[in-house]
Every structure is written in structure tokens, then in C-alpha cells.
Point group: C2
Chain length 257, copies 2
DNA sequence: TAATATTCCGTTAATTTGACGGAATAAAAA
DNA sequence: TTTTTATTCCGTCAAATTAACGGAATATTA
């Protein structure tokens, strides 16, 4: 951390709310598995989910959106609150304190700096189309990249638990909101959306029953095109019927798989 | 507000987190309708849902619990987060500012007092057994009482909306968690729980189909006793099978009514 | 031309849902 | 004592949905 950077670090604090911040589990889907976008702050040897502080001029949703935009380059992402976390012990991570940060960075940090305060964080999850995301690290990070949900690196605080909670909320919400729209490319095949649901729900779903359920409720439109997938029969492409898709939410009907 | 009270008011601030608090929609069920416990702070002519600040030594759940205990006299209440709210405009209520509070209370209030800050609030709802609750006002309230969900008094900030959100979350959660346990007395009749579900879901449910669904899944135990209800056939009493009740949660099965 | 991996369609039995009628009971009214 | 009234509570049946399963079609590579 350079001198000027540290000054910003202090000054910035004035613009933000104290004791409360947002954390955002940014999810993408690639290679038949869910991935989460993580960042590695350079003051500590652990990874964190993306997150940041709330400006005094913005709502919590705006804060989460702004930070998601910084990390992904994408606007208007699908974003949903799933839980807030707050406990005085939460920040008790042996690697996150003035002493060990000074050892690592060589920079003097007051032990009562505001970043060590008790923070309540409002947890969001964001669904993104993997291929559109350009992972971008923040000013205080030395890395930012996708990690498979099942092979996470060592994480700071309770962030691994927060990811689990986000996934649990997602697998509940999937019954009320057809998730695929945000996680899949515009055109996709039945096997693709089938595999997506399997990885979110963590169980295998009979392919015939699965597609029947999606097709009868009418949110999918079958296209004339097929997708070339190499040495196999070419699957048809589908796209969402946005109107029916949005409608499905309101009627309060439930899709149980 | 007396002099000493005001001093406390200032001093207390140091013990609490800034910019973040909890709000708690305490629900009870009585006379075939849902009721919500509201308080009326004496600094303003509107009602609020119960809520308060978070001590630096407690988690958000502990804060919500502590405040619920203060208002109801009950420990170990069923408490669930449903959403957090935060927007810089949230506290923009024409009746909530230093000037109009001074007019009402005759006490000098600095216009930048911390209570006017931007607060993110973590929203909980609590399910209580109506008859066990002893509504108790806080140090800064002049009243605390039950209000029927459908006849609410004028409310401060976005509190009416928060109640709606809590109810929406409850009606979703009811599919994953058998709610009755917290809202009904230990022994209750089928018509009672039937009416409870109707008022939570806001629609009428065929009594025969309703009881069939509850009985096949086995969470109810039929007792030998009946309940005297005056000039009518005496309904049998039931109680929850706590084990199966808790089990229902885990298996991820869904009860759609 | 055969082998392989994948898509995709259809049937059937079991289960669940939705819609409905009518007998039993407790007390009050006649 | 009998009738009326309001409420509990049980059962049936048709329709819809779910779960389980096999096999033909297709696109490539061997």
C-alpha cells in the first residue's frame, strides 16, 4: 500500500456508513458447475466474497449493484438479498488484525482502525452469465477470479458459510423464480438447463420429467436452430418466453423439482 | 422527556452500533385474525414496529431477541430474518426531525442527533402465542399494543411496508416450516389451525383437504380430549408431534396449500 | 460400417389434488 | 321434549400430476 493509497483509505471512511456493509455472492455457471467470483485482498492471505461499504448517498441495493459492476463490468444484474450477518465475533479471524497486516504489508495500521469494527453485512447473491463477466479486482485486492463452488480456497471470516447460505436460499427461490434466465446464455439447450438445475439443487433430475415440467408451463420457446456439440446428436436450442417467465413470478405458483 | 432521560439517551448511543439497527414484526394470532405488536414512541404521533439498536457486544439475533423479550416478556421466541432495509431516504418522514420533535416534547434536540442518521435495519419477524404476551412499552414509548393486521394505525417510515414484506415472507416460509407451533397454544383444534392458515395465506382452504394434508404428513397428534366451544359439537384437540415437525424442515419437502 | 455418446420422445402405474355431500354433535330456542 | 342452528368431521370419486422406465434417432470418431 502506497502512502497516497493509505490516505484515501482513511478519507474514504467518511463517505461510508459505519458498522454495516454489503457482501455479494456472485454466481456464474460454466463447465457444468456453479462458480463463485472471489477476491483476494492484499492485506490478508485469504479470499473473500465480493463486498464493500455503503455510501451515505445510496441504498443497500445500489451499493451491492455498484460493487457488482466494479467486479464484473456488468450493469443491471439480477441481485437478491438472502440474509444479513452480524455478530461481534464475526471479525475474529487470526489473520485479520493490525499486527499481522503490518507484518505482511510493512505498513503501520492502527489497531482500532474502523475496518476492524463490528460490521453487520447484508448478504446478496447475484446471478450472472459466466461468459459475459470480466473479473476485475478492486483497489485493495491483488486478485479476483472464479472458483468452483466445490473447491473453494481458504476464506476469511464466515465467508464460506455465507456462500452455503446463499446457495441454500437460491435452491429455495428456484421454486418461485425461473433462475435460468440470468445464468444461461440467451440461447441454450435442454441438457444445459437440465444440468444447471441439477447443480443448483444438488441432486439428479430425470431428464424426461424435467423437460416436460418446463415445457408444459410454457416458459421455453423451442427454436428451429440446433447447437453443434461435436460427436453427438445436435440438441435444439431454446430461449425463454420473457412474458410468461415474468408472469410466473406473480401468480405465486411453485415449481417443485 | 426529563433531563436525566435525555442524558441517558445520549450516553447510550456509545454502546450501540451506528447506522444499523433491528426491526421486528411481532405477530400473534387471536380472534381468528393475525395481530402485530406495535409501539408508539412519544416523540412522534405515529406507530412503529418494535425495534431497537444493536449493542456492540451482541449479535443481530441477540439484539432482536432482547428487544422482543422487553416487549413481550417471553424468552426463546421463534424469530426469523426476512429482509434488510436501507436507503438514505428511508428516514424522510415529515414528522420525524428535530424541529417537530422539539415542538411536541418541548425539548431541545440537535438536528444532527444520531437518531436521524441513515439506518440500515435488519428485519425479523417473530411468531408468538398471543395469550402469553404481556405487551410492555419501552422507555421512550407511551404505548405498546396489538393491532389487527388489516386495521393498522398511521405508521412511521416504511413500517407498514415492512409488515407487508414480513407477511409475504411468512406465507412463503409456511411451505417449508409448519408455522402453527409458534402461533397456536399447545393444544388446539383442527378448525383453529385451519383458520390460522387461511389468514396467513389470505385465501380460503377446503377444510377436508386441508386436514387431510396435515394428517397424512403426520405432524399432528390427535388427543382424546375435546374442547368445549359452547353451542356446538366439541372439536377434538390436537398437538404437534415435535419430532416429525422438526424433521419436516430438513428433508426440504414442501407443503403447498 | 460399426461403435459411442448424447438427445429426445412416450407410456403406464401410483399418488396427489380438487371438488363435493351429508351424518354427527352440542347447546339454545321453541 | 323436540326442533333449530351452528359447527365438526369423515369419505368418495374424477382429474391431474408425478415417478419410474426403455428405446429410437442422431452426429461424430474409430
Amino acid at each position: 500500500m502506497k502512502q497516497t493509497e493509505q490516505q484515501e483509505f482513511y478519507m474514504d471512511a467518511e463517505q461510508f456508513l459505519k458498522n454495516v456493509a454489503v457482501d455479494n455472492v456472485i454466481l456464474g455457471y460454466h463447465d457444468k458447475e456453479l462458480k463463485v467470483l472471489l477476491q483476494k485482498p492484499f492485506i490478508v492471505n485469504k479470499w473473500t466474497i465480493t463486498g464493500g461499504h455503503i455510501r451515505k448517498t445510496e441504498s443497500i441495493e445500489e451499493a451491492a449493484s455498484r460493487i457488482a459492476l466494479e467486479r464484473t463490468g456488468l450493469k443491471d444484474l439480477f441481485l437478491e438479498q438472502f440474509r444479513s450477518f452480524g455478530s461481534p465475533n464475526r471479525a475474529k479471524d487470526e489473520t485479520f488484525n493490525a499486527k499481522s497486516i503490518t507484518e505482511k504489508t510493512g505498513f503501520e495500521i492502527p489497531p482500532d482502525l474502523w475496518i476492524f469494527d463490528y460490521f453487520v453485512t447484508v448478504g446478496f447473491y447475484t446471478l450472472t452469465e459466466f461468459s459475459k463477466v470480466a473479473p476485475t479486482k478492486g483497489a485493495y485486492d491483488d486478485d479476483c477470479q472464479w472458483w468452483p463452488i466445490n473447491e473453494l480456497p481458504p476464506m476469511l471470516f464466515n465467508h464460506e458459510n455465507m456462500i452455503q447460505e446463499a446457495l441454500k436460499a437460491l435452491s429455495v427461490n428456484i421454486a418461485h423464480h425461473p433462475i435460468g434466465y440470468e445464468l444461461l446464455p440467451e440461447k441454450f439447450t435442454l441438457p444445459q438447463i437440465h444440468a444447471l438445475y441439477e447443480s443448483i439443487l444438488g441432486k439428479s433430475l430425470d431428464d424426461r420429467n424435467f423437460s416436460r415440467k418446463l415445457l408444459v408451463n410454457g416458459i421455453l420457446i423451442k427454436l428451429k436452430e440446433t447447437k453443434k456439440i461435436g460427436a453427438h446428436r445436435s440438441p435444439f436450442l431454446y430461449t425463454f418466453d420473457k412474458e410468461k417467465y415474468d408472469l410466473g413470478l406473480q401468480n405465486g405458483d411453485v415449481l417443485v423439482f
